[in-house]
Symmetry: D2
Subunit: 288 residues, 4 copies
């Protein structure tokens, strides 16, 4: 199921102007690329243009290097584009951070094992020992970094080193119950994916199911978002809800909410791994 074809994926954002789609499509066509996916979006409020375009490289006439150079010169520079070029066979290298709750971790590992997620998972990091056995079951290295107010800076440095040594580029916080420092977060801009167990912006912060229960809502939610310096305020990638009623206690919310958290987090990780997410002004474009 894993993606082994060698396609190019271009993610573009730039000021909107006439002819952008045709310009890019024509560029690819000219060099004999067969476009298999094109989705674009115009944010008319901000006059911003976004595109994801994917093409087969089999008969493409430019080397990877040449492609980058030419695209920058011919198109990106004149059009003031921000762009990322990915190859479908270069998978994100993901470290999963978790604490005590196993459901999101098991879910990601099972999906990975079944070939559902086009990522590598070289590492699991935790501030506790509880989930070591889960990591062991799936034969993923597990690193324990207990965090206290005193050792936090030092531990985060050690984590960064370890992540570097595994060439990790993406972090997934699978119910990780520690707040990352700003300086840590800044190492992975739009590369840290969190799951928060509420329908953000409702019930940010601690114990969201308890907050939801207190307020007497009729739906509870889960939100996956990129982590920024502002807690629970980063760009939202995916959200979903389930219906609840007065019959349900907080522990029912917790139990049923787990299914939401698993699915919503996995959906976000999948979209990220497929290079389908662009961030603009603290919001996401998630291509279909």
């Amino acid at each position: 199921m894993a993606n082994s074809t060698h396609n190019a994926i271009l993610l573009i954002s730039c000021p909107d102007q006439a002819g952008l789609v045709s310009l890019v499509a024509e560029f690819i066509r000219r060099h004999n690329g067969n476009i298999i996916y094109l989705d674009q979006h115009v944010d008319t409020e901000h006059g911003a243009f976004f595109m994801r375009i994917e093409w087969e490289l089999a008969d493409f006439r430019l080397s990877d290097e040449k492609l980058s150079k030419l695209f920058q010169e011919d198109i990106a520079s004149p059009m003031q584009m921000n762009w990322q070029l990915h190859y479908s066979d270069q998978r994100p290298r993901v470290a999963i951070f978790a604490t005590r709750e196993s459901h999101c971790l098991y879910d990601l590992l099972s999906r990975h094992q079944a070939g559902e997620l086009d990522v590598d998972i070289p590492l699991i990091i935790s501030n506790r020992e509880d989930l070591r056995s889960a990591a062991d079951r799936f034969e993923v290295p597990f690193a324990h970094f207990p965090i206290t107010p005193e050792n936090k800076a030092a531990q985060e440095s050690a984590e960064l080193e370890l992540l570097d040594s595994h060439t990790v580029d993406t972090l997934v916080l699978a119910r990780y119950m520690q707040i990352l420092s700003d300086s840590f977060v800044n190492n992975y801009p739009q590369k840290i994916i969190n799951i928060h167990h509420s329908f953000l912006p409702a019930f940010a912060g601690a114990r969201p199911y308890h907050q939801a229960y207190e307020r007497g809502v009729k739906l509870v939610g889960a939100t996956s978002h990129y982590v920024t310096a502002q807690l629970d305020e980063g760009p939202i990638i995916a959200q979903d809800v389930i219906r609840v009623s007065h019959r349900e206690s907080v522990s029912d919310f917790v139990r049923r909410g787990r299914d939401l958290e698993k699915v919503v987090l996995a959906r976000a990780v999948w979209a990220h791994a497929q290079r389908k997410v662009l961030v603009f002004k603290n919001k996401t474009v998630v291509f279909s």
Copy 2:
């Protein structure tokens, strides 16, 4: 479709204790009532018991008056019950408040006309003239009370008088764009149903779709709740959401949100009219 059978509906809340269900059921059975609905709920956190029980009065041996008296003496007093007794053929008398948006108003009027809602609608009140023609189409009296900071107290008094003269007992705010004063609200405790166009507690206050758009959420919602002195903080009766994406503008949110608002408000009004809603500690029990 309107309910013309003469059933009794008892709504009960009291401290939880053993034998409550059997006590009430036995009382009804003893006087030859045929129970056709019984739903109960125990809030174990607060030790509170709630029940809705409905029975046919055809062969019931107590007059309405006797029933109230006996139930109070035999059961409610010893058990410290709060209780309401309704009859299925006594429909709530509803005044609809609206301003400029017609969708909720038309929806309620159409449902009423089709016999879907067991209520009477003797009156529509608005702070503007825009919806008079909608009222006229359905032949419901329309009263115009323009509100300014200066005349608000006087106009609310006049409204209260008019509502009284129509023996209105329930108010439905169908996108009514005025904030009712506390003193006005206090006249109708748990009798004023509002629709707010967000998933509360997210995006309380003004322009919730704009707030949602700014935050970049992937779902937008609607919430129907009883109005209390705290704006948008009353007990929630019904909520629902729809999925949105980056492709949608604020005006798409507004357009698609209307369907939500209509359905969620109608669901709340229906449950209220069926005497299925109990309020406890700013939350609702909505019997099935």
Copy 3:
């Protein structure tokens, strides 16, 4: 809210081949059209390409006539395209067919009245008199065509004439309880929109809520589709479901299902009116 801008909307389907997007976009750009919407889809299974593209005509250098001619010659012919050209200010002219249930009819009329639907509604047709008053409330002409096995052919002919005289191009069956003859249907290919009160293909045919109740499903649905000669088998435009439980009777299904039917039918009519629907091999592409 109604669309009064003069935009061009092109709907295209053709065999897939490299460069189609750029070809069409370039054509529009060359004549100074400002593209404000582009969505395309490739059905890789059948090698088919679909596109909806909309552009402002304010500064466009081709007359409507010239546009059609040039597009056919320069692009459509060489690329073997099927295409439709619409203008955003030419609204579909819709006749609503209904029988006895008023909810879909009222819903469409209310939406139209509120400016939500970019269509004209010159006519309501029914095989019964029940809904005349609903038509009257919204001042839409109502034509009564009672249908018997004997008079069906004659009545359908008369209906066709009447529809013609009102230059109707789209028919919406809003719970119309008669089966249209094949020859009647053939007059409006992909122009008759029906609402069926089940999740098709489950529970096609008569009394779907009863069928659903008998089967004990936990969700009931509604489906809006284009009508073809095969009953309930035309291309699906929109579907949705609601959760039900053992507590609900058939009449609860009917009551709650009405909300679904209204919303699903309106969604399909809206997409059709926005020229967002293309049919291919009995399936629809519904552009976002």
Copy 4:
């Protein structure tokens, strides 16, 4: 999280008649049981009554044996009740059947491991070897029974013996790609839970996602049901759907459908394990 309290759970179905709730509640109260859950349902169409009642045994004055005897004599016999008595600390013993797809298996094992499911899982059975490693990861015995038309009867006999030796009482078919013989099924009436990857009764039988894709539906579903002699026609326990569009291929349906299958199957197994499901006339009552 596992349930270790010693509560009694009574599931009752019988002809409806006045006073049933009070009769049973009074019986429990009389013997000093503290009722912590009571939910009842009347099927008015068939005049049938259903109840689930749970009470604490801490201060209950009847032994388990005495309870059964007395309840039968005093209540069940005169009222013609079918009843089951369960104890909350007697967990179902579940064998999981699977074939090649791992997602449902991993999901159930992970939930079990996390303490989410009040069942024991002494055994995994498969007609292939593919999932042995999944079983190994969670240290559950794995038995391989390859099935051919020739050996099917013999293999099923061997399976029955093995199930017996593990005192298994519940079978969960987690995407098990073999049809069980009628005689096998008859050994576990209302004790075999299957997941079918469609919204039944739509797309019964083989390759439901392909069928759904061909029909062009806008939602795909999953259904968990008890297995009966009629393939895919047993009583439905849980169903859910997700929205799909023309953009999605069959393999997208398969990929996204897995999330549905996992959640819907787990929901059904959970309800079964909590003794919340009663079957009547090929439909289920699933208590809340």
